[in-house]
Amino acid sequence: MPGAAYAALLLLCFSGSALALDSYARSARENGLWIVVRGDTLFSIARRLLPDNRPAHARIRAALVDLNPDAFGTSAGELRTGAALRLPDELHLERPDAAAGQAEPGAGAALQPPPNAASTSTAAQPQRPSTDPQAAPPQPALVPQVAAQTSVAEVEAIDESSLQTRLSGNVSARYAHFTQLPRFDTQPDNNSAVIGEVEYYIEAESGSSFTFRPYVRAELQDGGDTVFDIREAMYLTFGDEWELRAGIGKVFWGVTESVHLVDIINQTDFLEDVDREEKLGQPMVQASLLRDWGTLEFFLLPYFRVRQLPDSNDRPSFGIDVDNDAAQFESKDAENHLDAALRYSQTFDEVDLGLSYFNGTSRDPRLFLNQNGNALIPFYPLMEQVGLDVQYTSEAWLWKLEAIYRQDDIQSYSAAAGGFEYTFVGIFDSAHDLGAIGEYLYDERGTEATTPFQEDILIGLRWALNDEQSSEALFGVIADLGDGGQSISLEASRRLGDSFKLNLDARSFINTENDPQLDLFSRDDFVRVELGYFF
């Protein structure tokens, strides 16, 4: 599979290759003049001058209007046939013979108009300056030379101003208080941390961009770590029907609220939060094909991120240290195994569908006791996973389903989560919305599962005040239908002023006696306050 994905990726790169400049457009750019023939519009001219830089077209059109006030009829859209448009200097192309000093033998032939161009513009042909270099009038030939001297400085100036940059980010402080005594003496009564995240974004005129987003979390309690991660360092370039990304990034797949079964590309930042929504940056090359029949995305993932599992002095904890550095891999290439993934997605009216395939190192480790019996060692098997995510949206109803089938050398199993979200709009004659969420979770492995969700239900309420502060709250209970274990959570947030945001989270685990997975957390009920500053 990695081979096939790679081949497809290569193919895609070639299909996105630059369109050739047609011969008239080339000579016009060399001469700095475009003669308007019948049928020419600002749109068609911009397209032909820059066939593979569509994002620049609007600017070119505006420049053409500015430079040629006399070339227009009554409105900006109406060009006078026969008008000689001056082209913006940035389009200037060196004449190949001028650059080489001597015309190459084939150069004249290459400058002939293509047959189709000739046939469609026969009527207007006499108005065009000849594209035969021998017949080129001497006077326009001077223009490019003068222009050539000034254009260097101007091109630099344009480059300077055409790079768009944006800086944004947030700094937040959080404090979590645990409401019960810890299970192990080594665990703290509270967790607190300062978290900073900055995003630097730079975009070229072509629309290509680079995003850099470092992240740091300093845990302030005794024995707390300082974690640094590059959440994103991604180059992106695209055309109408393709996108190519390379670097470090994050990808989300899925629709359900209770669990994210299908979402597989990124490793979970387990220490950030037990809700598993925070992710580590993943090195990747992603190529996407965007067509009417759907979107096809290929991923090559050349490096694996180990999940940082809690030590005995973290909270929650396994009560025993985890030796993350001793992690073992089924693949002989360890972290360097090349993982690959493929996803097809499409919208069919009210239905949004995604089908995905992953082949590589499992993001979920199995834990084994080491020889001395004093630490756990994570083992990361190779696996394949097929995933389905689908949502049906009908007025106030969202119907959701995620399902996976996963296979590795140890076992194979399927799991699914599905349900609904229904929103009551404008409750009690107010602007408030109230959403009711119900989901059913299933895991074929039953009590052997590596997650606490074997046969569970989620019941949730989402309350949005729709006020200036975007106040909202989400309350949820996940209950195990087999053993009765429950995880209860509340997440609320509100903006303060224009730049601050206050979050309040609380979580409680009850009736966990018969649920060994959830029982690990049974004493780790917490209330957490977080204040963030955004810029």
Binding site: F252, E395, N466, D498
Partner: protein, 272 residues
């Protein structure tokens, strides 16, 4: 009340032509035209005059003020594509407040079925298909409801011409409009439409209990491409809460070359 905003539809060509004919013949047939027919004819003519813009981009700033005078600011960039035979497509990118920076909102509106809407949450990198039922809710906590700023189309209302009246020194038609959408937050709107340019100058909104809820004043109109009028300022006042929102449009660019490819779901993940 079309130009309110952002967009418009146009698959009712035949009907439109008939009505234009009707309007042209209006002086002859004035006595024969009922207030409902005249209201509809005005709406169709306003619609016709705004056809063919193809696409545009613009920035909007919303200044929210409550009764105490506390202010907060929203900055949003918006792109709209006219769609032949269906509702328009639009993409909004949020720049301010800072905690929602990078959030993007894509709408494929439809004439004959509910709109398709997706929301992009940048922190999670998640594209969420959302319910489009909530038309009456506030947009970004402002005094504008989603239905006030979304695609306006002739079929979304029934009409009744009330009278001629001057508004801001301009001869206007006063037309009452009744939403056909059953979940609308309004029983009716009264719109003052400039007789010369066929653009709305003022709108009064009446809530579900038929009490006067809000008034919208549209000023600083500018014409683009010699045809399309767009208001520079829209000032909405809520008479029941005393809150106001001043929505200011800037950087209008028409026919920038946007196409369907710029309004795909995937685009949400790359716009900034």
């Amino acid at each position: 009340m079309h130009t309110t905003l952002v967009s418009r539809y146009k698959n009712r060509k035949l009907k439109a032509y008939l009505m234009v004919l009707l309007v042209a013949l209006a002086p002859l047939a004035a006595e024969a035209q009922s207030p409902e027919e005249k209201g509809l004819a005005i709406a169709l003519e306003a619609d016709r005059r705004d056809l063919g813009f193809n696409d545009f981009e613009a920035s909007m700033t919303m200044l929210l003020k409550n009764k105490k005078g506390d202010e907060s600011l929203r900055n949003i960039r918006m792109r709209t594509l006219e769609v032949e035979g269906d509702g328009d497509k639009s993409l909004s990118i949020f720049d301010q407040p800072a905690d929602v920076k990078g959030t993007a909102f894509l709408t494929h509106s439809h004439t004959s079925k509910p709109d398709d809407q997706w929301l992009y949450l940048p922190a999670l990198k998640r594209v969420k298909r959302i319910s489009s039922k909530n038309k009456s809710g506030p947009f970004m906590g402002s005094e504008f409801a989603y239905e006030d700023i979304s695609s306006q189309e002739v079929d979304k209302y029934t009409y009744k011409y009330l009278r001629d009246e001057d508004m801001d020194g301009r001869k206007s038609f006063v037309v009452e409009q009744y939403p056909t959408y059953k979940h609308s937050g309004y029983t009716r709107r009264i719109v003052w439409i400039d007789q010369e340019r066929y653009i709305p100058l003022q709108v009064e909104f009446y809530d579900r209990k038929n009490a006067h809820l809000k008034t919208l004043k549209m000023t600083d109109y500018q014409q683009y491409l010699d045809q399309y009028w767009r208001a520079g300022n829209m000032y909405m006042e809520n008479h029941q809460t005393g809150k106001t929102t001043l929505l200011t449009w800037s950087d209008y660019k028409f026919r920038t070359g946007l196409s369907d490819a710029d309004f795909r779901k995937n685009v949400l993940q790359r716009v900034r």
